[in-house]
Amino acid sequence: MSWAVLSSAMQQGFLYALAIYGIAISFRMLNFPDITVDGSFTLGAAVYAVSLVNGRDPWLALLSAGLAGFVAGTGTVVLNRKLGISKLLSGILAMMILYSVNLRVMGQANISLLTTPSVLARLEALGINSPAYLLGLFVVPAAALFLLSYMAMTHLGLFMRATGDNEFMVRGLGVNTDWPVFFGLGLSNMLVAFCGALVAQSQGFADVNMGLGLIITGLAALIIGETVIEGLAVVRRRVVGRRGWNRWSLLPWDTFKQLGAALLGGLFYFLIIGICLRLGLAPTDLKLGTGALVIIGVALRFRRADVETYARARW
């Protein structure tokens, strides 16, 4: 494996980690299959690109992109919670509406960012593909991982996870569950929009179709990451063995693992894609390959669960 393939996988993995965190929040924490992300990814890129073209500060442009993503996510919650539309259909509708919104925001299908100022300018000055550039880029998903892990340890994070697990119980505790979902889906889409803006910046343009299939990419990466983390946990159990518990065992380790899986999964996903391209896979077949990865990942889990159930039934 060449450095170019590894470096490219790391760059993409670090950038897309934000979107995969977002997808982990909606799919895993909130149990909300939110497809809005396909639209909010492009929305982030669109708002960022238009802000830059209009002479705004790049950091302000990035912030605007994140806020736009937050609003898009909360829009889906309104469709679901206030208008009674199912979770899946709310996401599909929001994604479709966002396609038109993105075109309106951009005014054209493609905006070049080659001549505008960049949030990555200082990093790019270190030389793209250099270890220093990659290290600098790694700060973005690492900081997000830290903040999201902190959030998981707060009451807000706990109630978000609880709402995704058993909303009925949380309402029984006197909590209006609309709010944890509202905040969680807003945060999820905000991360995705940040990712869209950074990806647009890194590739030098924003395109109205750039979010197409992001949900599948994110889920594929998440499933790969979860498989890796599960494997590591099995190895750890075999090496260290089972131990008693202490205070630290009470931390939300499952959520930490999910977030870690999002980061690792992104890296492995883009590494696999890079190797496949190197081996001669046509770029036009990438979506097919990604879909196949998701199918294989889910099928393997299903098969394993099937075997375990069968084994339990026998014994």
């Binding site: 902190y150 959030m151 340890m153 707060t154 009451h155 807000l156 706990l158 109630f159 996870r161 609880a162 697990d165 058993n166 009925f168 119980m169 949380v170 309402r171 029984g172 505790l173 006197g174 909590v175 209006n176 569950t177 709010w179 944890p180 518990w245 205070r247 630290w248 065992s249 009470l250 931390l251 939300p252 499952d254």
Partner: protein, 236 residues
């Protein structure tokens, strides 16, 4: 803490109105439960017992009639607002707990803290939650980091009951809460629940199938049949 006074006025509940599946679950129920009183609701399957409790908790809106708690009309109040003062234990322990979360996280949810606080929760459970776990007598305090999916149905129900009582609410509604427990444990848990309810002065309504157990509790019994109160043994 004084228990809540509950009054039901001419409560009717019709499911699927205007369809071939229309069902009259409650038919003009009038009922009064005094503050701190414990009532046992009895009746066969489909008699409307669970619907009655859900109407009081605001989970089901009555088709007709009014619900008063402490003299205030709460018929149109949202369930989560009423839940601030009501604990509900369901027959199905899966409904009353978060199965993917650990026992510690479930107990932390029931603690008296605002959900929106952006501060880390302490890595210990509150005294009320600790006492509630101890009262189950199942040694659950040693299994705090374990997800609830790893507990048996009976253990989960004991946890759900512990969660409900640890909140010290003014009204406790228990829907066939001992159904998944064995004979011995259900008697012990029922007595512990009553002791706890009277200890904190809560009003309690308990649905039971086990007539013998219900009689042994020596409380006011209300018999329901086809959505009607057919017998009320009267207040204590």
């Amino acid at each position: 803490m004084a228990g809540a006074a509950v009054r039901l006025e001419d409560i009717s509940v019709v499911f699927n109105p205007g369809t071939p599946n229309e069902t009259l679950a409650l038919d003009g129920i009038n009922l009064e439960i005094k503050p701190g009183e414990v009532v046992v609701i009895l009746g066969g399957n489909g008699s409307g017992k669970s619907t009655l409790l859900k109407v009081i908790a605001g989970i089901i809106r009555p088709s007709k009639g009014k619900v008063f708690i402490d003299g205030r009309d709460v018929t149109k109040e949202k369930d989560y607002i009423l839940a601030k003062n009501i604990s509900f234990v369901y027959q199905d322990p899966l409904l009353g707990t978060c199965p993917s979360l650990t026992l510690f996280e479930n107990m932390t949810l029931a603690g008296k803290r605002k959900w929106w606080l952006p501060f880390p929760y302490p890595l210990m459970i509150g005294r009320a939650q600790q006492e509630a776990l101890e009262s189950t007598g199942l040694g659950l305090g040693n299994r705090l980091p374990v997800p609830l999916t790893s507990f048996s149905g009976g253990q989960r129900q004991a946890i759900a009951i512990g969660l409900a009582f640890s909140r010290d609410t003014r009204l406790v509604l228990l829907d066939e809460f001992t159904a998944s427990l064995d004979e011995h444990t259900s008697r012990r848990v029922a007595n512990a629940a009553l002791d706890r309810a009277s200890g904190i002065g809560s009003t309690a309504a308990i649905i039971m199938h086990n007539l013998e157990l219900a009689k042994s509790l020596n409380k006011r019994n209300i018999y329901l049949e086809l959505g009607l109160v057919v017998n009320d043994s009267g207040t204590e």
